[in-house]
Symmetry: C2
Subunit: 170 residues, 2 copies
DNA sequence: TGCATTTAGTTGCATACGAAACTAATTAGG
DNA sequence: CCTAATTAGTTTCGTATGCAACTAAATGCA
């Protein structure tokens, strides 16, 4: 594909040899995504940490168990596209803090179903409105339609990005 | 925006009626962004590491010095919204590898102008086409208009996100 | 001038991360 | 059956990260 004839930036000096490609981080999607994501995560992380002493991976577990109900660590891994180590550690911390329960499956003792404890549910119920409010504020510069469009665009990109990663072991 | 009155407020409202808000990580923007960003970065990181033995922060320095010309570490930090530690370490590695030069400003010996060496320029010229190709592939599921829209939406969000971190609403 | 403050950049330390090695339980298959 | 291969989940270990403390130079100011 012939891409990137970036618009009005270069004075299009034809002498400029062709190795000297025009490139700007500002229009480079991976960079834009990384920047935005780190800004957003950073802000959220601080909030969750200070108010609930919970990390983002831990919050993901709480969010999933809270919205989708009890499931195993492996289910969570697939559901949230998280690393299994990340799930394991988040679960360990949440268990330790008493926010989730772990029930070993008697049928298959390797598996264990995780579920929110009362304190976990409480956290879920407390965080959800705050998270939504944060998100609303974040996207307050967007119209409803723009927000839907954005999610849809991110969805498409995510699909492509998944196919780009060299067959992740799942 | 007048929002939460502080931490006490949330617990001061033990009445949990509206807490069964419909919430799903899937529609939660911060999560979608983090997921996509990590997929994209991961894929790119592997590519740069295997082909050029260079990390993403290092690549950012090369990209900026290559496209915008020589500048100080501090300029880079502002330009790329990077942490100063990150810039310092990336610069140290690139220096060590001989990809950049460092010239101390005689006027102000704290400052030093960084610039690409020949090998740095070579890397820049080699990576740029690959990066653009990657990006083109990543966004191949989007129309030109969609891609422009996306960048614009990300821009808006980034602006808001920056304001969120600089003015911590807590 | 002389000392406090600011600024550019680096380093130390404690944490987070993920790949890979590992344990324990289950299933396959000879 | 018994061993090999697979699966769920945990731990180890090297690296990356970022805050905070630090060094060194420049500036403020009295």
């Amino acid at each position: 594909m012939k891409s990137q004839e970036s618009s009005a930036d270069t004075s299009a000096d034809p002498d400029q040899d062709q190795d000297q490609v025009t490139f700007s981080l500002d229009n480079f999607l991976p960079y834009r995504l990384a920047l935005l994501s780190s800004l957003v995560s950073g802000s959220i992380q601080k909030l969750y940490a200070s108010e609930f002493d919970i990390s983002i991976p831990e919050w993901r577990l709480v969010a999933i168990l809270g919205s989708d109900g009890p499931m195993t660590a492996n289910d969570i891994r697939q559901r949230a596209a998280m690393d299994k180590v990340q799930v394991s550690r988040a679960a360990a911390k949440l268990l330790d803090a008493g926010h989730i329960r772990k029930q070993v499956d008697p049928e298959d003792k390797r598996r264990a179903t995780l579920s929110l404890s009362d304190s976990g549910s409480k956290i879920y119920n407390q965080i959800v409105p705050i998270a939504l409010e944060r998100e609303a504020y974040l996207s307050s510069a967007l119209s409803e339609k723009e927000k839907r469009d954005l999610i849809q665009l991110l969805e498409k990109l995510t699909k492509t990005a998944k196919s780009m990663t060299t067959a992740p072991p799942m």
